[in-house]
Symmetry: C2
Subunit: 189 residues, 2 copies
């Protein structure tokens, strides 16, 4: 953590982050150690320690680059828009890297406050965006929400997350339709 603007500094930092992501994806979070990152990136171990004194910081920073491009631009008609968003999310969750990041975050958050903050950030963004989209759909007269909008993420993203990480099977169109229907009663197609 320094303000050094040296381009070599930035390049070596990126090389270490790339190495951390590759090790996470190939071997799991236990492989993201100073020793293996130094070896994988071809950089001295002391340099890795200088940037990230704790391996958890490095793992968290490498994971932070995963984008979260869901529920950002709700548009009427909302039902097909939402089905499209859930389909994109389901396809993302079938990627090894996304599954690795999501399950590492859920697991590491139990013991590491920095990872827990990152988990809370992801969960909060998804929950707020989805609730805002559903409120807009209701105001447009296209949806009658059942229950609290803040429960929608658990009810509709939860099944896709469970299918991808616990059942380890694809979410087909039928399951995605049922996630769309789980949030409320749609008065338009």
């Amino acid at each position: 953590m320094t303000d050094d603007p040296d381009p070599r500094f930035l390049r070596s930092r990126q090389a270490m982050l790339d190495a951390a992501r590759e090790l996470l994806l190939a071997h799991g979070p236990g492989a993201v150690t100073h020793h293996r990152i130094a070896e994988h990136a071809g950089i001295g171990r002391a340099t890795v320690y200088r940037h990230w004194p704790q391996p958890e910081q490095l793992l968290a920073e490498a994971m932070a680059t995963v984008p979260l491009p869901f529920f950002e631009a709700p548009a009427s008609p909302f039902r097909p828009w939402l089905a499209g968003e859930f389909t994109s999310l389901a396809r993302e969750l079938e990627l090894d890297e996304v599954r690795a990041v999501a399950t590492t975050l859920a697991n590491a958050a139990l013991w590491n406050p920095g990872m827990d903050a990152r988990r809370a950030g992801f969960a909060g963004v998804l929950s707020r965006r989805l609730a805002a989209a559903l409120t807009a759909a209701e105001q447009a007269g296209e949806l009658s929400l059942r229950g609290e909008p803040s429960d929608a993420a658990a009810l509709a993203i939860g099944p896709l997350y469970y299918r991808a990480t616990i059942e380890r099977a694809p979410a087909d169109a039928a399951l995605i339709e049922r996630c769309v229907d789980a949030v409320g009663v749609w008065t338009s197609r």
Copy 2:
């Protein structure tokens, strides 16, 4: 792995498994190493290696003792029975130990075939039991299933798992009711 019936052998094996569970619960799966188990259980490191050459085997065995007492004895009226089962499952998922085991399994399964087999076992038992209970409810005329019974676990357990491990918040009665309603249309209360 040996057939030694010596009671001291069994006692030390149990002490190592207890140490593995305690280390997992307190510090996460990265702490379940031969070195720390030997230290925690007061047993020589060579003994730990003799029982479990790989630390993953030890972690998997320590986790295997977590019971899975859900959806075992379906009974009419099925709707309140199911609400009770989901409530028990939600309360279990709020326990640190259960969250630790569930998220470690989902994460480690991505890289470790033994852990993946254990994950598949857990997921399969829950899915089959729930599908059988819902089929019985339908045959009793209490439920009109929507979609495939094999989707019910994702639709109803998924929200509780996401709430407990990603949102890290309690599942209240309203969310549990919506999980009950996610499986189909109930024709009885």
